[in-house]
């Protein structure tokens, strides 16, 4: 059990700066998920905490103590690698017990800890097998077992489920979450998968280009994205964006898209924005409704593709300024070419400053 903090942590490989000053506090027992596009430095951050890469600036603390210059083996951190990194010449039991063997733990205690972890992970019958005799999911579990046996201060996971098929991924996702609820070990978890991040995290850290864009609970990030990047990254299918500017019409401020149509906004969403300011209007596919009637003044894109998902129907539609996605909770009959008169729940929309990308709703707070 431990707290972890990054303080202005930097990392450069030669002249290429990968992490440009990252600050993050992880509380004891918290499950934090790092998400972000490929190459944004997630693995690098994790590996620096493990001691596998050296920071080139800033500080990293575990339980308040700086770990800069401390060897990986002194940090008491366990990591589950994307490729699992199981020792191919050792059995499952030997893999899980390797750290105990190195620490010269008494045999009885080691055996007891191995079998406890094996029971927890349903590996009891596989203890004598070698990694190559296991399925992907079983290997994944052994990798977790190797981490659990150590009872480390911090668990690190680098895309641990990305080599599994979709069904197994869902199952393991639930198992990891249950495991964390039991063990309550501080965990940092890297993933590409939206759903993993939303369902497993206490808090999500959205990274981009070597910096942290926003940190918050999954619902925080969904409801109150700090900027365009987070708004587009969190949520599936992604938020719809329209380019345009703010315009006053009979004492009411509204959004005028570059495509010509107008959309409703709220004073809260506009924040400190001024009339005429170039903004991006964002609304999630699930916050759009269908108007029964179709008067010509309404916002009515044209259906181009229909994707029935069973519980919902995704409609890709063209509007004068580009494309958008609408999610319909049910099974309507939609045909390509149909006009789709829509109403937007103005209380759920976001307005972003075109230039800085910042969410205008919170721009007044600084």
């Amino acid at each position: 059990m431990a707290t972890v903090s990054f303080e202005g942590t930097r990392k450069a490989f030669g002249a290429h700066e990968v992490l440009k000053g990252v600050s993050l506090d992880v509380a004891d027992g918290e499950f934090v998920i790092l998400v972000g596009p490929s190459g944004c430095g997630k693995s690098t951050l994790l590996r620096m905490l493990a001691g596998l890469e050296q920071a080139t600036g800033g500080d990293i603390r575990i339980d308040g103590k700086s770990v800069i210059g401390i060897a990986p083996k002194e940090r008491d951190i366990a990591m589950v690698f994307q490729t699992y990194a199981l020792y191919p010449h050792m059995t499952v039991a030997e893999n899980m017990g390797f750290s105990l063997r190195l620490a010269k733990a008494p045999k009885a205690e080691a055996d007891q800890r191995i079998s406890a972890a094996a029971t927890l992970l349903n590996l009891d019958t596989l203890l004598d097998r070698y990694p190559k005799q296991l399925s992907g999911g079983q290997r994944q579990r052994v990798a977790m077992g190797r981490a659990i046996v150590r009872d480390p201060k911090v668990f690190l996971f680098d895309e641990p489920l990305s080599n599994l098929d979709a069904k197994l991924r869902v199952q393991m996702r639930a198992e990891i979450k249950a495991l964390h609820q039991r063990l309550r070990t501080t965990s940092i978890y890297v993933t590409h998968d939206q759903v993993e991040a939303m369902t497993m995290a206490d808090r999500i850290v959205v990274m981009n280009g070597g910096i942290i864009e926003q940190v918050g609970t999954p619902l925080d990030l969904y409801d109150s994205p700090a900027n365009l990047f987070v708004a587009g990254f969190i949520g599936s299918p992604s938020m719809n964006f329209f380019d345009g500017k703010l315009e006053r019409q009979d004492a009411i401020v509204m959004f005028r898209a570059n495509g010509g149509f107008a959309l409703p906004i709220t004073v809260e969403a506009a924040g400190s924005a001024r009339e005429g300011q170039a903004v991006v209007y964002g609304v999630r596919p699930e916050h759009i409704d269908f108007t029964g009637s179709d008067s010509s003044g309404d916002f009515a894109p044209v259906v181009s593709v229909v994707e029935p998902m069973g519980s919902e129907t995704l409609i890709l539609a063209d509007h004068p300024g580009g494309k958008m996605t609408v999610s319909y909770r049910g099974r309507g009959v939609f045909n390509p070419g149909d006009r789709l008169p829509l109403t937007i729940d103005a209380s759920r929309i976001h307005l972003f400053d075109r230039a800085s990308g910042r969410n205008l709703r919170y721009s007044g707070q600084h």
Partner: protein, 301 residues
């Protein structure tokens, strides 16, 4: 094709057709092999069944030449030296190669290229030349080794390295190791580089220091490489010749005598073709046995 198989070809026809075709392709190589390898070997085996006098066959003697082996002390001494040579080669060049390779593997690509070229250099020197170089190094009067020992105040340890019966074989073996360890470094290095680096990372997180990673990850994962190098070294140890011949020619006395020098002397100096042939057949049998063994073991692992 259509003419050969008017309907669907049966697997057996296909096999016969393929193997006949394959035979056609290997035929030239096979002919050369039979003419220049198989026939001479059979010839030597046949010669070993006769007693010879000054280069001409005297009489058929059956296994008589082989019977002589049991009472030939030089043969057993030489065989013992080959065995010692094999064991020393397994101990030193292999281990040095493994350790150097594991240290080198963690350096930058540039260092790796440079150092592995340096390590490998002795291997590229013809063994005859290597023998001459080491003959100089070991020279009791103007040799480098005695000179250096003098310089560091250990002059009393110096001696006639290749001329004294206690040190001759070991000194030669050191020279042999010098020609072989670079090869081991290179083979081990490429094997280490094919190990998933995350295994080492996982091990260091599990609490392993350098020595423990070496012992618990590198060594066991290089088992088949070690096996290969070991069997290779064993075969080399049975058939090496040049190094001994240009330095000691088996001397002093029989202190550095090995099978090949014994065969050479028996053939060219004594002119006992029949017995030399019998010795050659024994050497061939030993090497083939090791070779067959290595093939079996390596194809299993």
């Amino acid at each position: 094709m259509v003419a050969v198989f008017p309907c669907h070809p049966q697997p057996w026809d296909m096999f016969m057709y393929n193997s006949r075709q394959a035979l056609l392709f290997v035929l030239p190589a096979l002919l050369l092999y039979v003419a220049f390898v198989a026939v001479p070997i059979l010839q030597v085996a046949a010669y070993s069944l006769f007693s010879w006098d000054n280069g001409s066959i005297k009489a058929f003697s059956g296994l008589g030449n082989y019977q002589r082996l049991t009472s030939d002390g030089v043969f057993w001494t030489a065989l013992g030296h080959n065995a010692i040579w094999a064991v020393l080669t397994l101990c030193f060049p292999l281990m040095i190669g493994l350790v150097l390779a594991s240290i080198l593997a963690e350096r930058s690509p540039r260092t790796i290229r440079l150092m592995s070229a340096l390590y490998f250099l002795p291997r590229t020197i013809p063994l005859v030349v290597a023998g001459i170089i080491w003959g100089w190094i070991y020279n009791p009067i103007f040799g480098l080794l005695n000179y250096v020992l003098d310089l560091i105040g250990l002059g009393s340890l110096g001696g006639a390295w290749l001329a004294e019966s206690g040190s001759a074989l070991l000194s030669l073996n050191a020279a042999g190791a010098w020609t072989f360890y670079g090869f081991c470094v290179l083979i081990y290095l490429s094997a280490i580089q094919s190990i998933d680096p995350s295994l080492y990372e996982a091990a260091s997180l599990d609490g392993a220091g350098w020595g423990q990673r070496f012992r618990f990850i590198t060594v066991p994962l290089l088992k088949s490489t070690t096996l290969f190098l070991g069997l290779y070294a064993a075969i080399e140890a049975m058939r090496f010749f040049d190094l001994v011949w240009v330095t000691t020619q088996g001397g002093p006395g029989y202190d550095t005598e090995v099978l090949t020098t014994h065969i050479y002397k028996t053939f060219f100096l004594v002119g006992d073709f029949g017995y030399a042939a019998a010795l050659s057949v024994v050497l061939l049998a030993i090497v083939l046995t090791i070779g067959g063994l290595s093939y079996r073991i390596l194809s299993q692992s």
